[in-house]
C-alpha cells in the first residue's frame, strides 16, 4: 500500500483554493475588523478567506488516499492556445491606442490565429482585413467606441 495522489486535478484545485483563501484572509486581516455588531472592512473577507482555505484543504486531502489503485490519468495543459490567445489579446490592448484599431486587429488576428493547430497564413491575412473593416465600421463609427482608427 502506498499513499497516492488519486486525483491530481483535485489536488491542484485544493491547493488553489487554499492559496486564494489564505491570501484573502491575510490581506483582510490588515483592514479594520470591527466587531460583530459594527463589522469593519476586514470582517467578512477574513471569514470568507478562512472558510475557503479550509474547504481547499478538504478538497486536497480527499484527493490523496492510501490505496493500490493507479492514479487517474489527467490531460495536460495546452500551452500553445493558452499562450497565443492570451498574447494576441495583450498585444491588441497594448498597441490599439497608439497604432489604431486597424493595425491592432491585424496583430490580434495574426498572433492568436496561430493558436489553432491548422494555420493558414493567407486565410488569416484575409480574415484580419475583413475583421478590421468590420471593427472600424461597426465599433468605431457605428457604436462610437472611442478608439483611434489609424496610427496616432
Amino acid at each position: 500500500m502506498k499513499i497516492r495522489i488519486l486525483n491530481r486535478r483535485d489536488s491542484f484545485a485544493g491547493l488553489f483554493f487554499i492559496l486564494l483563501g489564505l491570501a484573502g484572509s491575510h490581506a483582510a486581516s490588515g483592514y479594520p475588523l470591527g466587531s460583530a455588531m459594527r463589522m469593519g472592512a476586514g470582517y467578512f473577507p477574513l471569514l470568507l478567506g478562512a472558510v475557503l482555505a479550509v474547504l481547499g484543504a478538504v478538497v486536497l486531502i480527499r484527493s490523496v488516499r492510501v490505496t493500490d489503485d493507479e492514479p487517474a490519468q489527467d490531460d495536460g495543459f495546452a500551452l500553445r492556445p493558452a499562450v497565443l490567445v492570451g498574447a494576441g489579446v495583450i498585444v491588441f490592448a497594448l498597441v490599439v491606442q497608439q497604432l489604431g484599431l486597424v493595425l491592432a486587429t491585424v496583430a490580434l488576428t495574426l498572433v492568436s490565429g496561430h493558436a489553432h493547430r491548422e494555420v493558414r497564413f493567407g486565410e488569416l491575412l484575409g480574415l484580419s482585413a475583413v475583421l478590421s473593416a468590420f471593427g472600424v465600421a461597426v465599433f468605431a463609427y457605428g457604436l462610437g467606441v472611442p478608439l483611434p482608427v489609424g496610427p496616432a
Binding site: D10, L52, V85, V89, S128
Partner: protein
C-alpha cells in the same frame, strides 16, 4: 382589472416603433451569436452588452432580454444541428434533437423547439405579469436578515445545480464572493484587495470576469479539443412538424411550460433546471422510454419549452427583489446598474413603463423568434459551417472591444486575459465557473445585508433564526444541503447529469 391596466402600460412602452426595432435587433443578434458553437447566453450577452450602452434604459433592457432569448434559441439550434450545446440548458436538447437531425428530421426538431418555446414563452410572460405585483408587496416586508437568508439560499441552490463536485462548487462560490469584494468598501471607504491599483478601486467589472472565464477561457479549451463538426451531413428536412409530431408533442409542451415556469423562479434556477426536469418527466411518462435518446420528439418539445419558460420566469427575482437567480441575470443586473436603475421592488412603482414594457416585450420577443427562426434556419445552418479557426479570432476581437467599452480602460482588457487563463484552469481542474460568477455578483450585497442585519440586532447572530421568514429561507437552504448530502439522492443527481 389591475393586471390589464398594467399590461396596457407595457403594451404602450413595448409597441413603439423604436422599441420593437430594438427587440427585433436583440433577438436577431442574439440568435446570430448564440448559434455559434461553444458560445452560451452568458458569453453572448456579455459580448453584445456594449451595443446597448447608448440606448435609453427601457430600450436597452428590451434589447438585452431579446438577446437572451435569441441566444437561448440559437444554442438549441447548435445543439440540434451539430450536437454542440452552448450551455447547460441545451445539453438535454442534444440527446434527442441531434438524434432527430441524424435521421434527417432536423427541421421538425427545430420547428417544434420554436413552436414549443413560443407557447411556453406566452405562458411564462403571463406568469411573470400575474406574480410580479403580489411578490413585490411581499418583498417590501424583507429586511436585511431576509435578504441575506434569500441570497444564501440562492447560492446554495446554485451549488446544488452545478455539475460535478459539490465541494468544489462551494469553494468556487466563496472565491466568487471574495472577488466581488475587490474595490472600495462602501461603508468605511477602505480599499480592499486593490494592490494600490486605481483601476481596481471601483471593483472588477462583471464583464471582465464573464468574458474572461466564459469567453477567452472557453476558446482556449475549444482550441485544445480536436473538434470535428459534420454540418454538411445534416439534412434539415421539412421544417413544419407533422400531425403525428404535434400529437406527440402537445402534452410535453404543456408540462414543460409549467415545470419551467415554476423552477425558473427559484434562486439558482433559471433555464437549466426546468429542461432537465422536463426531460426526466417525459421519459418517465412515456409508454416506451427506450425511444428517448434515439430521436423522440417529446425529448425536444418538453425541455425546449421548459428552458424558455424558465428563462423568462427567472426575471421574477431580478425584477421584483433585485436578486439575480443565475449567471445571465447577474449580467442583467450589471446592465441595469450601468443605466442607473437599481433593481428591487421599487422599480415597479417608480418606473412602471420600464417594468411592464420589459414584460410585454418578452412576449413580443418570443413571437419574433418564431417568425424569424423558421424561415432563417438555412442561414443558421450556413453559419454553423464556418470553421472554428476563422470564428475564434472574430470572437476575441468582440471580447476585446466589448470589455474596453465598459469603462474605456485598456487595463480591463489585460485583466480579462488573466481571467481567461484562470477560466481555462477551472475547466482543466473541473471547477464549474457559474457559481463563481453568481458569488461575484452577490458578494457585495451579501456583505452589505449581513452588516446591516447585525447592526440592527446589536451584534446578535440569532437574528437570522428568530425572524420567521429568514428562518424559513435558511431552513430551505439547509434542506437542500441535506438532500444533496444523502448518498442515494446524490447518486440520482449524478445520474441526472450523466443523462444530460
Amino acid at each position: 382589472m389591475e393586471l390589464l391596466s398594467h399590461l396596457a402600460i407595457g403594451v404602450d412602452a413595448a409597441f413603439t416603433g423604436t422599441n420593437l426595432l430594438y427587440c427585433f435587433a436583440g433577438v436577431t443578434l442574439g440568435t446570430l451569436i448564440g448559434v455559434l458553437p461553444g458560445l452560451g447566453p452568458v458569453a453572448t450577452i456579455a459580448m453584445l452588452l456594449p451595443v446597448t450602452y447608448g440606448l435609453p434604459p427601457t430600450a436597452a433592457l428590451i434589447m438585452l432580454s431579446g438577446i437572451y432569448y435569441g441566444a437561448q434559441y440559437g444554442g438549441s439550434t447548435a445543439a440540434i444541428l451539430v450536437n454542440m450545446p452552448g450551455e447547460s440548458s441545451s445539453v438535454v436538447t442534444c440527446l434527442d434533437g441531434h438524434a432527430m437531425a441524424k435521421q434527417g428530421r432536423a427541421g421538425a426538431a427545430l420547428g417544434i423547439a420554436a413552436i414549443g418555446s413560443f407557447f411556453a414563452g406566452t405562458v411564462a410572460t403571463l406568469v411573470v405579469a400575474v406574480a410580479a405585483t403580489p411578490l413585490a408587496v411581499f418583498a417590501l416586508k424583507f429586511g436585511p436578515a431576509e435578504y441575506f437568508a434569500l441570497m444564501v439560499l440562492g447560492l446554495v441552490a446554485a451549488v446544488v445545480l452545478a455539475q460535478g463536485d459539490i465541494l468544489k462548487a462551494v469553494a468556487m462560490t466563496l472565491a466568487g464572493l471574495l472577488l466581488g469584494l475587490v474595490g472600495v468598501d462602501v461603508n468605511s471607504g477602505e480599499e480592499r484587495f486593490t494592490f494600490g491599483l486605481p483601476q481596481l478601486a471601483d471593483g472588477i467589472s462583471f464583464v471582465v470576469i464573464s468574458m474572461g472565464v466564459f469567453g477567452i477561457g472557453e476558446i482556449i479549451a475549444n482550441l485544445e479539443r480536436d473538434e470535428r463538426r459534420d454540418v454538411a451531413a445534416v439534412r434539415v428536412g421539412r421544417i413544419l412538424p407533422s400531425r403525428d409530431d404535434y400529437r406527440r408533442s402537445w402534452k410535453p409542451v404543456l408540462r414543460g411550460s409549467a415545470l419551467g415556469s415554476l423552477l425558473g423562479v427559484l434562486p439558482g434556477g433559471g433555464a437549466m433546471l426546468g429542461s432537465f426536469a422536463s426531460y426526466m418527466v417525459e421519459k418517465r411518462l412515456a409508454k416506451d422510454p427506450s425511444r428517448f435518446g434515439k430521436g423522440a420528439i417529446e425529448g425536444v418539445a418538453g425541455p425546449e419549452s421548459a428552458n424558455n419558460a424558465g428563462a423568462q420566469t427567472s426575471f421574477i427575482p431580478l425584477l421584483v427583489m433585485g436578486l439575480p437567480a443565475n449567471a445571465v441575470m447577474a449580467l442583467m443586473i450589471g446592465a441595469m446598474m450601468i443605466h442607473g436603475i437599481v433593481p428591487g421592488p421599487q422599480v415597479m412603482s417608480e418606473r412602471p413603463e420600464l417594468f411592464w414594457g420589459v414584460i410585454v416585450s418578452m412576449w413580443v420577443g418570443n413571437a419574433m423568434l418564431l417568425l424569424l427562426n423558421l424561415p432563417l434556419i438555412g442561414v443558421w445552418v450556413k453559419l454553423l459551417a464556418v470553421p472554428y479557426r476563422v470564428l475564434y479570432p472574430a470572437i476575441l476581437l468582440f471580447c476585446c472591444i466589448g470589455v474596453y467599452s465598459v469603462n474605456n480602460q485598456m487595463f480591463d482588457v489585460l485583466l480579462t486575459v488573466a481571467f481567461g487563463l484562470l477560466g481555462y484552469l477551472f475547466i482543466k481542474l473541473r471547477c464549474e465557473p457559474a457559481p463563481l460568477l453568481l458569488g461575484f455578483v452577490l458578494g457585495p450585497m451579501l456583505e452589505e445585508n449581513l452588516r446591516r442585519a447585525m447592526l440592527l440586532s446589536r451584534g446578535d447572530p440569532t437574528v437570522f433564526l428568530t425572524r420567521p421568514l429568514s428562518l424559513a429561507l435558511l431552513l430551505l437552504a439547509l434542506a437542500l444541503i441535506v438532500v444533496m448530502a444523502l448518498p442515494r439522492l446524490r447518486a440520482t443527481r449524478e445520474v441526472a447529469f450523466a443523462e444530460g
